[in-house]
Amino acid sequence: MTNPAAIAIPSLKPATADVDIMPTWLGVVLAVALLAAPVLLDSYYLHALITSMIFLLPAHGLNLIVGYTGMMSLAQGAFFGIGSYVSALLAMHLGTPFWVNFLAAGVVTGLIALPLGVPALRLRTYSFVMCTLGLVVIGETVAKNWISVTRGDMGLSGIPRPHLGFGVEVTTITGYYYLFLFLAVVMTALFWALVSSPAGRAMIAIRDNETQAEALGIPTWSYKLIVFALSAAFAGFGGSMFAHYLTTISPLTFQMYYSTTILIIVLGGGAGTIRGVVVGSLTFVAVSEALRIAPELRMIIYGFVLLLLVFWLPKGITPLVDKVFALARGRST
């Protein structure tokens, strides 16, 4: 029935190619630059990097759906919101350390996504997109009206700063930066391990030809359901980081803004590749921030950037990144 192939995925290279392409010296330079960033940059740039790392995890999640199973979802905004509420409520009521809140946000969001995926995944590609959009609206309504838990529109404010245990509490922007950098690196590594495992290859098979995958004995339905839950879990992780960084959330956390921003990162970055999504999350936050020099024209120019991207780099930023990597490689050897 379903024809996920209606979404054309640019790169059919296996995900494992990611590490080969980047020359080692560039990797080292990047790693040093990221570690030294708080020394080199002021708080505004650190904040922008933090924002892009908050968006990175939900983007990985969406990439799992779009890039590795060929469906497109707008539900990331809903799961981002759920994750932020789970994490905030735990921290405020039980005073649990950050690690617990972070993991719980992902796990609970994933578990909530599981039953939602059952009806949603029966839909064809386009119907699925719109159905997932509905989850954002439903999530917002629940957050607004389940007042005994969420405090409704008053929102949850005064969410504790991340407690890391052993009396360590993150309060400065540099602290947040290193904490989120650590999480981003660990989660990206986990994501990479997942998609380069046999399970990841099965997902790619489903994306490329679902009927054939089924014929080869891959339980496509279970895979899609698990992918949906995993992608939600990644969005939940992002929501947890968001809640602890801003220390306040409201039903407005369930917003199309987050769904579309994450979608732009994945599609604009290059679905189906990890490097594309990582570069995408950095690029789109950077573009959006750079345009603050013209506040009233900002969103208009941002719109034109998206159009340019479509016609100029129809496969997203990934090919450009690869070119840079190739260039760097050429010079390094």
């Binding site: 708080s43 929102g155 306040t248 506040p295 900002r298 100029w312």
Partner: protein, 431 residues
């Protein structure tokens, strides 16, 4: 459905491209015209480089000409997206105040320089705008935001930076529950939250207009819902019964299903806490549903807005509102403010956000004058003890950094607001 097409040649305006047999419809772009795309790409690169170069030139110039002796103030409000209709007023009000203060010699002889930050009514964007102001523009003061969820996110950030945040537009009570003795030292609010207002409006409607059954139709936000929570405290003592309780999204345009219910419920008033642009929609649909003249609007949503009255005069007659500012407030200073605003913005009428951003920027200026210093720490201390002479009357701040504001209660009579009383806001803080 996978549509398998046999290998064929697609003729499309002279371009030829081979379509591989398994390729679905959507991937044809991949094989069309690589050369042409390359050409476009080079042209675009050149153009982009040019644009970037000129943009940098402008920035560099702006930085070079920036005077040293200025007071830098950031204004954060939604300037793009659906909430831009509220943010535009805020930014214009602040700009007018800046021009007036600078024309009068500035703050302690220093000119005010404003920086605009776009929040899109979204905490992530608002915090980004703030961070940029703090570390790039090095502002000492921030006014903002209109949306409470953004203001709540700004509070802890200014606390770390020792920059003074004066909020002129958010009504979530949490903002000042957590300020002053409640915790945040650097947050002040010069905007009413609805502790007293809700009671005053309800009492007037129940006792003067003898309405005992009311329906709730307020905006679905902390403002609309918060006002109703406070209204409910006063129901019993005024003998008022609520017949229904509905909250609308700020993009809502169809109120007929609710009005159909209200018509049958016997309610004599609709309690509405919302913003001015929904008032004419509800009013006009009340006329349509035959409610005009039978049910009055009470609460706060700029019922006195002339455009709203023009849209549905019969529905707004008798409306009761408690407001912190009304354009009809009959003093020379208010008239001068409105005239100056209209002169600057092509005849546009200011709204409550325009007024409060204008007044709050002046408040900061006056506090700096009293402190004889533009250092934010001195101004902060001055605000704590100030008695500011605003257009509407004296304003001072309580120990939670919340302004106690003069308020006006009016009823619309023959399409004009008739002042029925004045009172001052006061917050009862939860223990």
């Amino acid at each position: 459905m996978a549509r398998r097409v046999p290998m064929l040649v697609v003729v499309d305006r002279g371009r030829k491209a081979e379509l591989p047999p398994e390729c679905p419809l959507t991937s044809m772009a991949d094989v069309v015209d690589p050369e042409e795309r390359l050409m476009i790409r080079y042209a675009m690169t050149r153009r982009l480089a040019l644009v970037a170069a000129s943009a940098f030139a402008i920035i560099a110039q702006a930085e070079a000409t920036a005077a040293q002796d200025v007071v830098k103030i950031g204004v954060i409000s939604p300037n793009t997206g659906a909430a831009a209709r509220y943010g535009a007023f805020a930014w214009r009000g602040a700009q007018l105040a800046r021009d007036e203060i600078n024309a009068a010699g500035g703050v302690n002889g220093k000119k005010i320089e404003l920086f605009q930050g776009d929040s899109q009514c979204n905490p992530t964007e608002g915090v980004s705008a703030l961070q940029r102001m703090l570390s790039q523009d090095k502002v000492s003061y921030v006014l903002g935001d209109v949306c409470s969820s953004v203001t709540l996110a700004l509070q802890p950030m200014v606390e770390n930076a020792n920059v003074l945040l004066v909020n002129p537009a958010s009504s979530n009570p949490q903002i000042t529950y957590k300020a002053g003795v409640g915790g945040f030292k650097w947050s002040y609010r010069n905007y009413p939250t609805d502790e007293v207002r809700a009671g005053v409006v309800l009492k007037y409607a129940a006792q003067e207009k003898k309405i005992k059954k009311m329906a709730v139709l307020s905006v679905d936000s902390d403002y609309g819902r918060g006002a109703i929570v406070l209204t409910k405290k006063y129901l019993a003592e005024n003998g008022v019964e609520l017949t229904s309780e509905d909250y609308y999204k700020d993009k809502e345009a169809d109120f007929r299903p609710i009005l159909a219910n209200i018509r049958r419920s016997g309610a004599g008033a609709i309690i509405m806490y919302g913003l001015a642009d929904t008032t004419p929609i509800i009013a006009r649909q009340m006329v349509e549903a035959g409610l005009a003249g039978k049910v009055v609007l009470i609460g706060s949503a700029e019922f006195n807005n002339p455009q709203a009255i023009a849209a549905a005069p019969s529905a707004l007659e008798g409306a009761v509102e408690a407001a912190a500012w009304v354009p009809e407030h009959d003093t020379p200073r208010n008239k001068a403010f409105i005239a100056a605003y209209k002169a600057k913005y092509a005849g546009e009428e200011p709204n409550i956000h325009a007024y409060f951003f204008w007044e709050t920027l002046r408040l900061v200026g006056v506090a700096a004058k009293q402190a004889k210093s533009e250092k934010q720490d001195d101004v902060r201390k001055a605000l704590a003890t100030i008695t500011y002479d605003s257009i509407m009357g004296n304003v001072n701040f309580d120990d939670h950094n919340q302004a106690n504001l003069p308020m006006i209660l009016f009823e619309l009579v023959n399409g004009k607001p008739a002042i029925k009383g004045t009172f001052s806001t006061k917050i009862i803080y939860p223990k």
